[in-house]
Structures are given as structure tokens and as C-alpha cells.
């Protein structure tokens, strides 16, 4: 069952990658990148079980963290064109918009 799940996950990753390349808008790409990250976390876990070494789960946990922060960072960058804005600067930009 682990092999079947890994195969299904790989097929799903190919489909997600297709949407990330073909997606008409930026948000489609961000969404599929986020989804791809979740699938990578699951794939790392499954591969750990498949090879009998579930120690890879630390990497999977780290990947989940990086995935979330990366998604939020991409969205913040494309909204404000700047990653180092403080909350005060963001509030002043919101006022001018």
C-alpha cells in the first residue's frame, strides 16, 4: 500500500507541476507551489517508511515550515514589492492605496 500511495503521490505531483507551469495567473502558481510543498512533505514521510528509515520525518517537518513561510513571503512580496516592511509601513501603504 505504501508503494501505491507513493505512486499516486508522484502522479499528483506531476499534475500539480503542470498547473504551476501552465497556470494563467500568479495565484494559480502560488497555490500549486503550496500544494506541491505539502505533497513533498508526504512523499518524504512515505519514502522514509518505504525504506525502513523513518528518520526523514525531521526533514519533512522542516519542509512543512519552509513551505508555509515561503507562501506567505511570496504573497507579501508581490503585494508590497518589498519583504522588509514593518507593520507601520504596511499600514501607511494601505492608507495611500
Amino acid at each position: 500500500m505504501l508503494i501505491a500511495a507513493t505512486t499516486a503521490l508522484l502522479i499528483a505531483m506531476v499534475l500539480t507541476l503542470f498547473r504551476a507551469i501552465a497556470g494563467p495567473s500568479l495565484f494559480d502558481r502560488v497555490l500549486s507551489a503550496n500544494s506541491f510543498g505539502t505533497k513533498i512533505v508526504l512523499l518524504i514521510g512515505l519514502l522514509g517508511f518505504l525504506t525502513g528509515r523513518p528518520d526523514f520525518l525531521d526533514i519533512a517537518l522542516l519542509y512543512a515550515l519552509v513551505n508555509f513561510v515561503g507562501t506567505i513571503a511570496i504573497l507579501k512580496f508581490f503585494r508590497y514589492r518589498n519583504l522588509g516592511l514593518s507593520s507601520d509601513e504596511i499600514a501607511s501603504r494601505e492608507d495611500t492605496q
Binding site: 500500500m1 505504501l2 501505491a4 500511495a5 499516486a8 503521490l9 502522479i11 499528483a12 505531483m13 499534475l15 500539480t16 503542470f18 498547473r19 495567473s25 495565484f27 494559480d28 502560488v30 497555490l31 500549486s32 503550496n34 500544494s35 505539502t38 505533497k39 512533505v41 508526504l42 514521510g45 512515505l46 517508511f49 523513518p54 520525518l57 525531521d58 519533512a60 517537518l61 512543512a64 515550515l65 513551505n67 508555509f68 507562501t71 506567505i72 504573497l75 508581490f78 503585494r79
Partner: protein, 112 residues
């Protein structure tokens, strides 16, 4: 006996999770609009991921591995709706309109 039960439960959960992940990926490719594609991504992130992790947890037994799987599961459970909301909010603020279901509105948009 208990091994058989745990193994079959784990196999069922992993199988159901991979089916949900396939459905989500198929929806991500086939659905017509960004806001509808978000539903498909949601299926993958919640049901698919949680079922797969639950199945792996049953397979691991009681150990540190289960704790790590629980942490991953909890983290995905909280961050995936947050990031989906952030993407949807950003799309709406930046002016991406949802596709309207009505045919009249579609044709009138093309005319204007």
C-alpha cells in the same frame, strides 16, 4: 490478531488518502477558475494529507516517529487553511474576479 487489524486500518487510511490526493490534483488541473481550483487544493491539504499521516502513524506504533508525524499533521492542519486564505485574500485584493456561472453575464462581459 491485533497486528492484522492495525495493518488493514493503516492500509485503508493510506489508500483513502492517496485517492483524495489524486482527486485534488485532478481538480487542480481540470477546474476552470482560480477560486474553484482552491477547493481542489483544499482537498489535498486537509483530507489527503491528514489521512496519509494517520495511516503512517498507525504503521509506526507508539514511538518518537508517531510524535513527529503528529507534529507534522498538526502543523499542516493549522497552516494549510491559513495559506489558502492568504492566497485567496491576495487574489481578491489584487483584483482577480471569480468566474461567474451565469451565461448572460459572460456574454455581456464579452460585449463590453
Amino acid at each position: 490478531m491485533i497486528d492484522v487489524i492495525i495493518n488493514s486500518a493503516s492500509a485503508t487510511l493510506i489508500g483513502a488518502g492517496s485517492i483524495f490526493i489524486l482527486i485534488g490534483a485532478l481538480g487542480l488541473v481540470r477546474l476552470p477558475d482560480f477560486y474553484t481550483r482552491m477547493h481542489a487544493a483544499g482537498v489535498t491539504d486537509t483530507l489527503g494529507a491528514e489521512l496519509l499521516l494517520l495511516g503512517m502513524m498507525l504503521q509506526a506504533g507508539l514511538s518518537l516517529v508517531t510524535l513527529k508525524l503528529m507534529l507534522i499533521s498538526l502543523f499542516i492542519f493549522f497552516t494549510s487553511p491559513t495559506s489558502t486564505h492568504a492566497v485567496a485574500n491576495a487574489a481578491r485584493v489584487m483584483g482577480l474576479r471569480p468566474m461567474s456561472g451565469s451565461k448572460d453575464i459572460l456574454t455581456s462581459n464579452e460585449n463590453t
